[in-house]
């Protein structure tokens, strides 16, 4: 029968199923293929903290959302247009998020009495009218998969596991995507088990054919390639981008990269990723605990490496004392905090921005550090390089804040050429004549004199030192001077950080000021509001300590400043404290990123519908 292909601009798809259903895999395969066909995209995985929660349970539902488009997009989408629900629990958990009229592809094989009960459905939603208003396509995915694999020599369980590829094949048909990227992946992944290669490929193809031949599918969609800046692209998650950014910084600086780290969600992928790159002289020290991770990194920095430590909230707290040591010894060190919902264990797989004030103030004594925040998954690449550069050139610890949303989310990265990237100047002291450990250059930076250099033998440590000479000193005036020098040195970083850019009008009624991972949602919200004819501007902070030079000036050019953040007002607190500027807050602490609509509504509320035309 004839099938119609409709060209659309923009789609949000969510895959949802049991933690064991392979939804993350299905989602990332769909993402890879979508990237290859040239759409702009943004992804948001959402999975439970339990590794394999009981099958069919509501809390065990794992989801993967993908927003792709033929135009430039910034977020994984507020409300899915299409939901693939592998079981009743997945339907129940995700239904409320969908657009009205959304398409729901349902694995009807999983809608048996047991699963319905586990999902707290008293009656079958496929039959009781719950789904009225949606475009429901019920497909017995499990059954069809089993049938397609009938003659393959695998256990029933193994065959059943292939159903996610059937679903994926169906989605490939629906959105007119090629199968080859996934086929190649299957062939590599299951190389040692030819029967699994065959089974998964066949399930994928069967899903595709099912869409093509059966009558329940009448329409397929096409999203054309996006007009992105010229270049070679790859899709990248925030954690991967962070890891590659540090290796690039190592190549750029010529320093060996040393990571001291202890596994913690959602930062572990950086450790795992970096451990693959031995041929880049990357040393990954999986330490016995968080404190050892940072302490070893400090040791490595003393010995002349580009030293980093990666963690999330609880581990960040544990590293606090050692961070003070790095401040005192004035060694280059990057601490990556992939923020997650806290306090304590909190919601480990969920995102939040509530570590900013800890990054700023969470140490004893006067212990200033540089703080950077990445604004998108691909930006993690650049900020890792920037953090390394500042740490090395200013001999200071730098905290790089990302979060769970950036860590697991992904978007296309236009791969820069090596020489487009910032230079990192390493100046090891070798000249013994006139050497003292706390000599200062024009930026108050002390020399990096590493063990192995003849004639520069010296001792540093946590005790206060006399300026210039570096001997242990309890002198009151010297201490005050050193405290001020350490602060001024961090403030001097302002010289090399870019001015804050304002997108939209450079002055006026309302500025929306954000930091870190909220960039995309704010940007889309502002776009929508401006489409309606209202005037509102955006500025986004990637440098938080020190702030960009012109921040105070920017703030003063606007009557109102709105600060949306995923905490109870950390940036707002800093802005109010430093610039005595009253701000309007929009705060959310639900372990989820902002929806575009939430920011949009707040902007409209603040504007009071006033300045539109």
């Amino acid at each position: 029968m004839a099938k119609i292909t409709r060209i659309i601009e923009d789609v949000t798809v969510r895959f949802a199923g049991d933690s064991g259903d392979g939804m993350q895999l299905t989602g990332s395969q769909f993402t890879d293929t979508t990237a290859i066909v040239g759409n702009d995209l943004s992804t948001l995985p959402d999975f439970p903290a339990e590794i394999r929660a009981p099958a069919g349970s509501l809390f065990g539902v794992s989801g993967f959302q993908l927003h792709f488009s033929s135009k430039d997009i910034q977020t994984p989408g507020d409300t899915p247009d299409v939901l693939v629900a592998m079981n009743p629990a997945a339907l129940k958990v995700n239904l409320k998020d969908l657009k009205p009229n959304a398409t729901i592809i349902i694995n009807s094989s999983a809608f048996d009495a047991k699963n319905l009960k586990l999902a707290n459905y008293e009656t079958n939603p496929l039959e009781d009218g719950t789904l009225a208003g949606y475009n429901v396509i019920a497909v017995p995915l499990t059954q069809l998969t089993m049938a397609a694999l009938e003659d393959i020599n695998l256990s029933t369980k193994e065959k059943e596991r292939c159903k996610n590829f059937f679903a994926l094949g169906l989605m490939y048909w629906m959105f007119n995507r090629p199968l080859d990227v996934t086929i190649k992946w299957i062939e590599t992944k299951f190389k040692s088990r030819p029967e699994l290669v065959e089974a998964n490929k066949r399930a994928l193809q069967a899903g595709y054919n099912y869409g093509d031949t059966t009558e329940i599918f009448t329409t397929r969609y096409e999203v054309k390639a996006a007009e992105l800046p010229k270049g070679i692209y790859r899709n990248i998650s925030g954690n991967e981008a962070t890891a590659l950014g540090f290796i690039t910084a190592s190549l750029r600086s010529g320093l060996k990269l040393f990571l001291g780290s202890y596994p913690i969600t959602p930062a572990s992928e950086i450790l795992q990723e970096l451990s693959k790159y031995k041929e880049y002289d990357v040393i990954t020290f999986q330490a016995e605990d968080e404190i050892s991770g940072i302490s070893a990194a400090i040791g490595a920095a003393f010995a002349g490496a580009l030293a980093i430590t990666t963690t999330s909230g609880p581990g960040f707290s544990l590293k606090t004392e050692a961070l003070g040591l790095a401040v005192m010894t004035e060694l280059p060190l990057v601490v990556v905090d992939v923020q997650r919902s806290g306090p304590s264990t909190g919601m480990p797989t969920k995102t939040e921005q509530a570590d900013l004030l800890q990054a700023m103030f969470g140490r004893h004594g006067e212990a200033p550090v540089v703080i950077l925040a990445a604004q998108s998954p691909a930006d993690c690449f650049y900020m890792a390089i920037e953090a390394s550069k500042i740490a090395i050139e200013y001999m200071t610890p730098v905290i790089l804040l990302t979060d769970g949303y950036l860590a697991f989310g992904s978007e296309p990265l236009r791969i820069p050429q090596f020489d487009e990237l910032p230079e990192i100047n390493v100046k090891f002291r070798t000249e013994p004549e006139g050497f003292y450990p706390y000599l200062r250059d024009e930026n108050l930076v002390r020399p990096w004199a590493i063990p192995g250099t003849p004639g520069l033998e010296h001792r540093i440590g946590g005790l206060e030192k006399s300026n210039i000479y570096g001997s242990v000193s309890y002198d009151p005036e010297n201490h005050e001077e050193m405290v001020k020098i350490r602060k001024q040195k961090v403030d001097n970083v302002q010289k090399i950080i870019p001015d804050l850019q304002v997108e939209g009008e450079q002055e006026g009624e309302l500025l929306v000021l954000g930091w870190g991972s909220t960039y995309g949602a704010i940007k889309e919200a502002i776009y929508n509001v401006r489409q309606k004819g209202f005037t509102v501007s955006q500025a986004h902070l990637r440098y938080i300590n020190p702030f960009p030079r012109n921040l105070g000036d920017v703030l003063n050019r606007f009557k109102k400043v709105l600060i949306p953040e995923l905490n109870l007002g950390h940036l707002a607190f800093l802005i109010k404290g430093k610039y005595l500027k009253d701000v309007i807050q929009l705060n959310k602490v639900q372990g989820r990123p902002f929806k575009v609509s939430e920011i949009e509504n707040k902007i409209m509320e603040v504007l009071g519908g006033k300045n539109g035309n």
């Binding site: 007009e227 070679i232 190549l251 404190i291 590493i450």
Partner: protein, 346 residues
């Protein structure tokens, strides 16, 4: 000895003076730390390393001021973390000879985790534990090596906890050179330090160190002329375990139990004595030796309990990097970034 002392690298001729920096040493007069410092400076010229390649790392405590008093590279860390800091230094530059000066509180209490894991991995570090069985810098609280019942400022009625046996702990955790000496046995200490320097792997030295202020006389039975000979047992490779003022007492192994025998009783002779084997592959005897200090009536062994060869963490790490490089070729930016699923926008 198994370690190859003759493999000394070509080097400048140093004297002890080269290791004495121009700073005032600030331990209490009479503190055992002075002796440890002096012996270390005396033998450092023979460590077989250029001065610039030696790094002393420490945590917090009286002993941890040590790096400031050595004219090498030094890093005075934070409480308990010396082993972690030192591991980072060693991994970042395996050519360095990395020493740790630490105390019983620093290494066995707050730093216990880092200590056992450094031992487990056999990181090529030399850990010198100044054991004075007390917290000195914080002015006299009991430590994890204080004997049970010890009355201190924080245990006015005596402690109700058992102490760590540092030798036992180090051996069990995986250290590959385990030795003990005391601050008074200067020649012996020098010899032990030198052997630790030459050992390829984690060398652990416990030095009984007298804190004259808060725990004076803790080791007097091992240092006083009258009692010393009857309480100290000098471990020497391939020699029978004999001690006593008249060298008339020996140690015999009765099954797995060590017993003191009288060599002049007409029943026992030197041939009954346990002959010490430092390089014993089997850890059992070393373990029995380490327990002497827990058994009333047994003498306290000093010397090398055990020394054996095992691949080091840093060595294997470097090897792995070299193997991967040989297989994959050295990494480049192009290989790093332009890989995986790429697409081009024109």
């Amino acid at each position: 000895m198994e370690t190859k002392i003759d493999e000394v690298k070509p080097q400048v001729k140093y004297t002890a003076k080269d290791f004495i920096p121009d700073v005032e040493v600030r331990w209490c007069p009479g503190c055992g730390d002075y002796s440890i410092l002096a012996q270390t400076q005396r033998v450092s010229p023979d460590f077989g390393e250029l001065k610039e390649n030696i790094v002393w790392v420490s945590g917090i405590g009286c002993s941890s001021r040590f790096p400031y008093y050595m004219a090498t590279y030094g890093f005075h860390g934070i409480h308990g973390r010396a082993a972690a800091i030192a591991t980072g230094i060693k991994l970042a530059n395996p050519k360095l000879q990395v020493w740790i000066a630490t105390g019983d509180g620093d290494m066995l209490s707050i730093g216990g985790n880092h200590f056992i894991h450094a031992c487990r991995k056999n990181v090529n570090l030399k850990i010198v534990l100044f054991n004075n069985k007390i917290y000195g810098l914080t002015k006299g609280q009991y430590s994890p090596t204080s004997e049970k019942g010890k009355v201190t400022k924080s245990s006015p009625y005596g402690t109700v906890e058992f102490p760590f046996n540092a030798i036992k702990l180090a051996d069990a955790a995986g250290a590959t050179f385990i030795a003990r000496t005391t601050d008074r046995e200067t020649k012996h200490m020098q010899e032990i330090l030198l052997r630790a320097a030459k050992h390829n792997g984690l060398a652990f030295i416990e030095i009984y160190q007298n804190c004259v202020i808060f725990n004076d006389g803790a080791f007097s039975n091992l240092t006083d002329k009258e009692t010393k000979a009857d309480n100290i047992l000098l471990l020497e490779h391939n020699k029978p375990l004999v001690f006593g003022a008249n060298r008339d007492k020996g140690i015999k192994l009765d099954g797995l139990n060590p017993v003191v025998i009288n060599l002049n009783d007409g029943i026992h002779s030197i041939n009954d004595c346990w002959v010490h084997d430092e390089f014993d592959d089997n850890p059992t005897r070393g373990f029995i030796l380490s327990r002497f200090t827990d058994i009333p009536g047994m003498p306290t062994p000093i010397g090398v309990f055990r020394q054996f060869n095992k691949p080091t963490f840093d060595g294997d790490y470097v090897n792995q990097i070299e193997e991967v490089k040989a297989k994959k070729g050295k990494g480049t930016y192009e290989k790093l970034m332009f890989s995986g699923n790429l697409w081009e926008v024109n």
